[in-house]
């Protein structure tokens, strides 16, 4: 379910590392909780983001939620396709539904994020809590 080579946050974002670049998206759990996504607000290319800073907003039929940047870096690319077809976030959250690409500023921040198995365990914990 959750790709092994990704890192995950408690707020249900994922990061995929490719050299100095990181793709960021929301997890399958996040999209299933949000329900049908109707709008995604993207940041500007060139924007400097700090980790935990809001990078955009995702609006579903149920709620409007902030998306937080899992790590610090400069936005190099945004997924323009989400403007016209926001439902990619529901259909393919871990691949075609990527939201932004970042130029990584500090790789050590990745150590604070969860691995796939840690994230799955974290989700189990959330289920018990409900």
């Amino acid at each position: 379910m959750y790709p092994e080579d990704f890192r995950y946050t408690k707020d249900h974002e994922w990061v995929k590392i490719e050299g100095d670049t990181a793709s960021v998206g929301i997890t399958d759990f996040a999209q299933s909780q949000l329900g049908d996504v109707v709008f995604v607000e993207l940041p500007e290319i060139g924007e400097e983001l700090k980790s935990h800073q809001t990078l955009g907003v995702v609006e579903s039929v149920k709620a409007v939620s902030d998306i937080y940047s899992p790590i610090s870096g400069e936005v190099t690319e945004v997924n323009e396709g989400l403007n016209d077809v926001p439902e990619i976030l529901n259909q393919d959250p871990h691949s075609k539904g990527w939201i932004i690409k970042l130029k990584i500023k500090d790789k050590s921040e990745l150590d604070e994020l969860m691995s796939a198995s840690e994230y799955e365990k974290y989700l189990e914990g959330l289920k018990d809590e409900e």
Partner: protein, 480 residues
Amino acid sequence: MIRERLIFEISDKGKNGFRFPKLDVPENKSLNDRIPMRDSIKDFPQVSEVEVVRHFTRLSQTNYCVDKGIYPLGSCTMKYNPKINERIAQIENFITSHPFADPEMSQGNLEVLKTLEDVLREVTGMDAFTFQPAAGAQGELVGMMLIRACMEERGDPRKFVLIPDSAHGTNPSSAHICGYKVKEIKSNDSGTIDLDDLSNNMDKDVAAIMITNPNTLGVFENQIKEASEVVHSKGGLVYMDGANMNALMGICRPGDMGVDAIHLNLHKTFSTPHGGGGPGAGPVGVKKILEPYLPVPRVKNKDDQYFIDEDCPKSIGRVHSFYGNFLVAVKALAYILSLGPEGLREVSETAVLNSNYIRKSLEKEYHLKYKTPTLHECVFSDKYQKQYGVSNIDIAKRLIDLGVHPPTMSFPLIVHGALMTEPTETESKADLDSFIEAMKQIAEEAREDPGILKSAPHNSYVRRLDETAAARNPKLRWEP
């Protein structure tokens, strides 16, 4: 059922509502040049009188309203408002008086505003009120602007506003529009503010906290005094969202809990119908420390004369024309005076009793994430129904079949699959029982025949709508 056609679709060329008699005086052609004539409106519907009357009557009959039955939309306080207060607001002296009239000629109107300020001060324990804000969200913004003005005068407006995750959804927007960054404070297991999280986040960069009390879970923030002390000790101020004041009236006062500013929703708590787009009123009450910044004009009195005070150099200025939505204030005053102190207390006690009657009656059938006692509303979830593939939306849609307006769905976000239920104090036991029966029937159907819920509503004017398509591709106007 036949779908009601749009009025444009009923239109037929040449039809109209009435006919002018033939001209029996000489035509004055020069008049046509002096009167600016509007170009004909393309596609303006051409319909007869009876078609117009029937069209809008049929539309009104497909509507659900609080005059028809229980409307347990959590957080919204959709209660029945006595019609006599509407009559009082329609008294000729009120509706024909002009806001530009001299204060000497408007003593009655000014007395209404000043008296309402005085009684609301008593109800809330605050020191002064402005009636200018037109609704709750504007009240929040004004409250935050007052706090900002006060902080600026102290030398530093500060950067952040703290907001618990169980606050009203508008609070973060109001803080943001006022130029503050929002930091979220987590709820603890009881569904109230986590004081440790608050202490960790409270510092000299934080201007204020915005607390909704009782919060959106319906839980009273029983440590609000301690929370206020934490915020005050670092020089911050406390804003309370008083939209849920119908749970507290006559029982306790925000002014005694360390609150520096509060807004009330006259259109929720004090007898103005809402949900139709207004007008409402979101007066803001403040402690002395914030009074100099209140919007102008202020209504004051001296030697039995009411007058308008515009001389408030520190005021944030005007936020509405004249004195706000004055007739809403008239209704609020009529409501408060007719109930009196004991009556107001009874309103709150009944609101809390009704909500707890529903909670207790349904707690076996519907999951309650928080076991903490609640006041005027309670938040169920669809957790027990999930195992049958039934979600909160299916429950809500089925309620429509059973003739009941559904509760608020999927809010607050801290409860997944939320069904936020607020019956209000105006429902009789019989009406509460019919809601409870409907909810029990649905719980039963979820176990026995979930398909009937997945495809609901069955008896309504339209079947289940594609809300996603409507949000993704909104059609905002009719086109031929």
